[in-house]
């Protein structure tokens, strides 16, 4: 039994764990990766023996060193698939084991919002954050000729990394206009180093950037070959003539979504806030949720990015005490929100989702099928899910829920808050049955008797 279990070893989770350790608690941190760092400070693969230092490796190594020299227990390559609270004790289920604690800090980070368009399932089309995992872990590029498309600051980071690692960026296709960026520059002034870095990236790719535009179709037989794009209006609705780009790889995404599955399964109250990336746990300024002994920190508590994450982590550990110290995240919060604002979905995006496009990649459910289900009476995500299987596949609805809700909003006129979310259920990740149960022999299963009818 631990005083504190932390789920997720990114900058928020690790700082929460170390702070809790400093406060004298016994702490265990769990992560599904092989080492700490999260997505933002992801560690290099063991296949890389030596490489030039980067901000990712320096900050990631500092985080890992700090964790190593603390008393925090660690469990890597472990996946939490279920969370239960029994009286005052948390039961945290991982593969073939149940861990217990008095307090639970959830720091599961974020995943990507990726708007479904025709061809988005083609091999070679990957998420922007997925591309950063390739850079950080493997120091490799996604292809020889890459189109980088979507919104927010990640576009420029990804393009810069591709060329640093020897790839070629065919074009950056940015939903945001130059004016969107100018507006956020005012807030970036509070972070002069990042402002300068951002300025260098944008100027380096200025000629390759196609502003206020979006891919409308990805084409290819076995993998991506062509990207068709159009200009968009201020509402992000595609307009005007089609332009065709050649590419053997595409990095594509429209910002980040808080990974709230764990805090929902733990029973915390959530609400919708587009300025924080979507649905977030309802918390106080230290990360206390509506459930006693449950705390959240980092991007899963609202997308504020890597600068705010360490402070949010420390606050979550302090929150265990009623009189804990609150560290100020003021300017990091403003900066994080300005970056998140660049990816708040606008109504016109829906026009990119063609009626025959698979919105649910796992189960192959099209926009047309979802709309039909809603029009014929299914208005909640649960009803749509049971009627069409949209959101029932192995990804757990993570890559279709946002688009499905956008479609529902459009058809019914309801708000996202009114539409709600599907019921939170285990497993949090797909699990082989033999990792959940004892070894199973089918012959041992009791066979029920014949029904009297």
């Amino acid at each position: 039994m631990y005083d504190v279990i932390v789920i997720g070893a990114g900058p928020a989770g690790v700082n929460a764990a170390i702070e809790a350790d400093n406060l004298g608690y016994s702490v265990l941190i769990i992560d599904e990766q092989g080492s700490a760092g999260g997505q933002v400070w992801r560690n290099k693969s063991s296949s890389i023996i030596d490489a030039p230092k980067t901000e990712t490796s320096i900050k990631g190594n500092a985080l890992r060193d700090a964790l190593m020299s603390s008393n925090v227990s660690v469990k890597y390559e472990a996946r939490v698939w279920h969370i239960e609270k029994c009286d005052t004790i948390w039961n945290i289920h991982i593969e073939n084991d149940v861990l217990t604690s008095k307090n639970l800090i959830i720091a599961t980070g974020a995943y990507e919002r990726i708007i479904p368009i025709p061809g988005w399932t083609l091999p070679g089309v990957i998420g922007l954050a997925g591309a950063t995992a390739l850079f950080k872990e493997h120091m490799m590029v996604p292809g020889h000729k890459t189109v980088v498309a979507g919104s927010g600051p990640l576009l420029f980071y990804v393009a810069n990394e591709i060329e640093r690692l020897g790839g070629t960026v065919e074009a950056i296709v940015s939903l945001n206009s130059r004016f969107d960026w100018l507006k956020s520059l005012l807030i970036m002034i509070t972070q002069p180093i990042l402002l300068w870095q951002g300025f260098k990236w944008v100027t380096a790719f200025y000629k390759k950037t196609i502003w206020q535009s979006a891919p409308i179709k990805f084409e290819g037989a076995d993998h991506i070959e062509l990207v068709k794009i159009k200009k968009v209006d201020d509402d992000w609705k595609p307009i005007g003539k089609e332009q065709i780009l050649e590419a053997d790889s595409v990095c594509y995404g429209q910002g980040l979504i808080p990974a709230i599955e764990a805090s929902r399964l733990a029973g915390a109250e959530h609400h919708y806030d587009e300025t924080l990336g979507g649905w977030v746990p309802t918390i106080d300024d230290m990360g206390r949720t509506s459930i006693e002994g449950l705390f959240v920190c980092g991007d899963n508590a609202g997308i504020l990015g890597a600068l705010a994450a360490p402070i949010r982590g420390k606050n979550a550990a302090q929150a265990i005490n009623k009189n804990g110290v609150v560290y100020d995240i003021g300017k990091f919060e403003r900066f994080g929100k300005a970056m998140t604002a660049l990816s708040i979905p606008r109504a016109g995006l829906l026009n990119l989702i063609d009626t025959d496009t698979d919105v649910c990649r796992c189960e192959g459910v099209t926009r047309k099928e979802i709309e039909h289900e809603i029009i014929t009476g299914a208005q909640s995500p649960n009803a749509i899910k049971s009627g069409t299987r949209c959101g029932m596949g192995p990804c757990g609805g993570r890559f279709c829920a946002d688009a499905q809700a956008m479609i529902n909003e459009h058809v019914t006129g309801k708000t996202r808050e009114d539409i709600g979310l599907p019921t939170a259920r285990p497993p949090l990740r797909p699990m082989p049955m033999d990792q959940i149960t004892e070894e199973l022999n089918y012959d041992d299963l009791p066979i029920p008797g014949v029904s009297p009818l």
């Binding site: 997505q39 091999p123 995992a133 490799m140």
Partner: protein, 86 residues
């Protein structure tokens, strides 16, 4: 200068591929240009998508078990098969 581990070989869907020892299956296949690594239930080709163990698009079979290619490390002689159904 990036220094990488020794090259090894492994099998995917009956064909031989090279990899740097310790990298993930998805990274090794992508480097060799093998982007299509799975067929969706609809029959459509699929490859690595989220790159962080969430989307399950890159699931393959190793030793009869389904596993995400983006989380499973390659080792010499590993036999990787296309997943039959995910």
């Amino acid at each position: 200068m990036i220094r990488r581990a020794a090259e090894i070989t492994f099998q995917f869907d009956g064909d031989e591929f090279t990899a740097f020892d310790g990298e993930t299956i998805s990274a090794a296949l992508l480097r060799s240009g093998q982007k299509n690594i799975r067929s969706a239930p609809t029959g459509a080709p699929r490859g690595m998508f989220c790159g962080m163990g969430v989307c399950q698009e890159c699931v393959v079979e190793v030793d009869g078990k389904k596993t995400e290619a983006c989380r499973k490390k390659v080792k010499a002689g590993l036999i990787v098969r296309k997943a039959t159904y995910v």
